[in-house]
Amino acid sequence: MTKRTEALLVVLSAAIAAAGTALVTVTTSAAITLDTLAAGATHTAAFGALLVGFRRWAPGASRLLLPLVGFITAVGSIEVFRIDPDLGRLQRWWLLLAASIGLLTLRFLRRRGIGALRRYRYLFLVGALALLALPLLPGGLPVGGATVNGARLWVRVAFGDRSLSFQPGEGAKVLIVVFLASYLADRRRALTEMPRSLGPVRLPEPRQLLPVLLGFAVAFLVLVYQRDLGASLLLFVVVVALLYAATGRGTYLASGAALIAGGAFAAVTSFSHVATRVDAWLHPFDDYATGGYQVAQGIFALAEGGLVGAGLGSGSPWLIPAAATDYVFVAIVEELGMAGGLALLAAFAMLIAVGFGIALRATDAFRSLLAAGLTIVLAVQTLLIIGGVLRMLPLTGITLPFVSYGGSSLLANVVVISLLGRISHEERT
């Protein structure tokens, strides 16, 4: 792909954002409002800046990344705006902020390269754990934790009488992947050797299993103290998948699967909020008025969507609780239909394929594992939430990358893309 095509596709994604917003305003208020201009301008500014940043500080970066992310973000911003115009407007500021953070990331790595991150890996680990622990701070202080929908994964920063909320877990997931990639790149020989055996099962030195157990412990603590099913599952799956990628040992997959099964069983039997989720997943209509309401509304939305959807602005996606965050994919299917949903899935699949392509071409183990880890985070997060709202899995509250409303998520995912871009640049130099 030429530079010119890449730029054209990024411009096209901004045009989609503007046109979709125009369609929504025409359908819902019979007028084209300034929101159209704002959506187009924001998208152009954010992705234009990232494009310039890539050209300057990572000119060899894969040219597939930005057009795909631009398209996915455009669809997301249209639907979030459609569900709640205020959230949509807020999301534009988050997009601009995310682009600036992406630019800072690229600028920071411009000389030192991605390898510089290895030096700070324990700092990143401590930072990640601190971020994960942040929501547990008592509320009421200038910086304090907050509980939203039963999950304590928010931090509220107060400025006088105003406050800003963010989910530090989104940042933590990036830091943990950087730490893991760096740790595994150094230790993968030791982790691959399996000198001990227990019956037919070959095991590594027990201390080498520590990272798996540590990952599981952190994930479980997140589940217990923050009641966040999605984040804890994401965390643990990424740890296990990266361990497998680094070592090629099925033992890690098997022990990971066993721990997930055991953890899931323990969670269902001991935490009522998890049991409610599972009930709602299996029998949404039995418990329609209470637990199953959201899942049932999601099914109705899918039914309304059909092949090509009700049309932008013509569905009723706001009837689904959490339509702009967890259920945004279903809201998109309601209005753009199965066709729109499949197009979005295809874009995600391509993005993930591009990410793994970067991992496979990387010049050393650290870069390869980092690219793979970041891509796995994107992929697993996408699968968990889409599988959740489509009832392949129990619903876990987690954002759909680049699509759901949420500043922290957008910020973290733009950093992921910047890192992937930088790694792919380094493959060519």
């Binding site: 369609l23 359908t27 993968r188 998948a241 497998y244 990628a245 680094a246 070592t247 090629g248 209509f285 329609y288 049932a296 099914i299 109705f300 939305a301 899918l302 039914a303 309304e304 969507g305 059909g306 092949l307 090509v308 959807g309 009700a310 049309g311 602005g313 013509s314 569905g315 009723s316 009837l319 299917v333 239909g337 199965m338 066709a339 949903g341 499949l342 899935l345 295809a346 995600f348 699949a349 993930i352 394929a353 793994f356 991992a359 496979l360 183990a365 390869s368 594992l369 793979a372 891509t375 796995i376 992929a379 697993v380 996408t382 699968l383 889409i386 599988g387 489509l390 009832r391 392949m392």
Partner: protein
């Protein structure tokens, strides 16, 4: 390491593909099972939806639409009240109920519509009726303030061309809240009854068409002769059956089957029913739709006759059944279908009133498919019945139903009712061959030939002038 990253990649991308396949299945499944689920407020709670479509007649008259506040409005409310019904936030009736979801379904259509249809994509669907406005208006005018019903059906398709029940009510008042359909003592109670399909009455002499059909099946012809009598006392019965004018039907010796039908001879048909036997009469009636469920857009009451077992042990009841009294009960809708079958070689088409669902720009989304309901008579029997019924209108009790330029065939009926006799007329009309069937009933109003037949003539004339 690359190999394993590759494996993870393959698994994750495959899971994305699986999600796509799952999405395809789930949307299809959800669309077929949950789209009209009562808990799906998208389809049910009008308040949440940006409006409902219009209901139009086949000639394009809007009979139901949303006003600026998205309340339902019925521009010619009283004329279409029993067909349309009404839709308010907590109560629904008629087509407004049976097509509630269709009227609130927005057009999704083809992919090109979706890409191009900036405006049309948000319009709800319209329901287009088979009713022809001038015919409906004429029926409404002709029945006037009387109590009764008029049903007009296109013989070849089963499409309902007019459907009137009287007294009527104004559905706009139900929407506005000034008329409470739930008030059992209110003024609306009588007006809300759908006399066209949801109320049964004794058919009186119109039932003689069924008895004549049974006789024809049993081997008689229109020229077969029956003994004339001025009264008939069935075996074991206490009270004799007399003719309408208390005299003989013919010369006092014999009358033909055709003559008996033309003058509506009670004594001949009462004796004929007893002679043919309960089984023959009951099966002819059941073939013609009695004791059967009648599929109809807004629901129809079941027409019935006494069971063959009971009739065979009570010749007096059987004799009265033969002239459409005693426990015979029928809806005007079924009587119109019976007339339609006479005009259609014995086959009644399934009645329908929704011609199609269309987009706001008039493009049909789904259309009704005419289908046979039942073969009520053998073709030869139907031909004989038609010829005899032509004679009824040409020179018998039904002369008031004559219409210039058309051949009208029919049968009158005058059924005993507590508040006076119910006047009936059923028949068919057409230029060369029968095209429409009609049933008229006016409750407690007098004889069929004097009261119901002129109403039929007025409606048939309106159809002639409109068609």
């Amino acid at each position: 390491m690359r190999r394993h990253i590759h494996r993870v990649a393959v698994v994750l991308v495959a899971l994305m593909a699986l999600s796509g396949a799952w999405l395809t299945w789930l949307v299809t499944d959800a669309a077929s099972r949950y789209r009209d689920d009562p808990r799906n407020v998208r389809a049910q709670a009008g308040a949440f939806l940006p409006g409902a479509g219009r209901i139009l007649t086949s000639d394009g008259v809007v009979v139901a639409e949303d006003d600026d506040l998205r309340n339902r409005r019925y521009p010619v409310g009283v004329v279409y009240a029993h067909l349309l019904g009404y839709a308010t936030s907590d109560d629904r009736r008629g087509i407004e109920d049976s097509r509630y979801a269709a009227l609130r379904r927005r057009h999704t259509g083809s992919i090109s519509d979706w890409l191009l249809g900036l405006g049309s994509g948000r319009q709800p669907h319209d329901v287009v009726l088979t009713v022809v406005d001038p015919v409906q208006q004429a029926a409404h005018r002709a029945i006037g303030g009387a109590t009764g019903a008029v049903v007009v059906i296109d013989i070849a398709t089963g499409a309902v061309l007019a459907y009137v029940s009287s007294p009527t009510y104004d559905p706009n008042r139900v929407v506005a809240g000034s008329l409470d359909p739930g008030d059992a003592d209110g003024e609306s109670v009588d007006a809300l009854i759908d006399r066209a399909a949801d109320r049964v009455l004794p058919p009186g002499s119109t039932f003689k068409v069924i008895v004549a059909a049974a006789a024809l099946e049993a081997g008689s012809s229109p020229d077969s002769e029956f003994a004339d009598a001025d009264e008939y006392l069935a075996p074991g019965s206490g009270s004799p059956i007399r003719n309408a004018g208390d005299g003989f039907c013919g010369d006092g010796e014999t009358v033909t089957l055709e003559q008996a039908l033309v003058v509506s001879c009670n004594t001949v048909f009462a004796r004929m029913a007893v002679t043919l036997g309960a089984g023959s009469i009951a099966s002819a009636a059941q073939r013609a739709g009695f004791d059967r469920y009648l599929p109809w857009e807004t629901g129809a009451a079941r027409s019935s006759i006494t069971s063959a077992d009971m009739l065979s042990s009570d010749p007096g009841a059987l004799a009265q059944t033969g002239i459409g009294e005693r426990d015979v009960r029928v809806t005007p809708l079924l009587m119109a279908l019976i007339a339609a079958a006479v005009g259609n070689d014995g086959v009644a088409m399934r009645p329908y009133v929704v011609a199609n669902i269309a987009t706001a720009s008039g493009e049909s989304v789904s259309s009704a498919h005419p289908a046979a309901l039942a073969r009520m008579f053998d073709a030869a029997v139907a031909a004989d019945l038609l010829a005899m019924m032509e004679a009824v209108v040409a020179g018998g009790t039904g002369t008031a139903a004559r219409v210039d330029g058309l051949t009208v065939a029919g049968k009158t009926g005058t059924a005993e009712g507590s508040g006076g006799p119910h006047a009936w007329f059923i028949g068919v009309a057409g230029a060369e061959h029968p095209e429409i069937a009609i049933a008229v009933v006016v409750e407690g109003a007098g004889s069929g030939g004097r009261v119901a037949a002129p109403i039929a003539a007025a409606v048939i004339t309106a159809w002639r002038d409109g068609a």
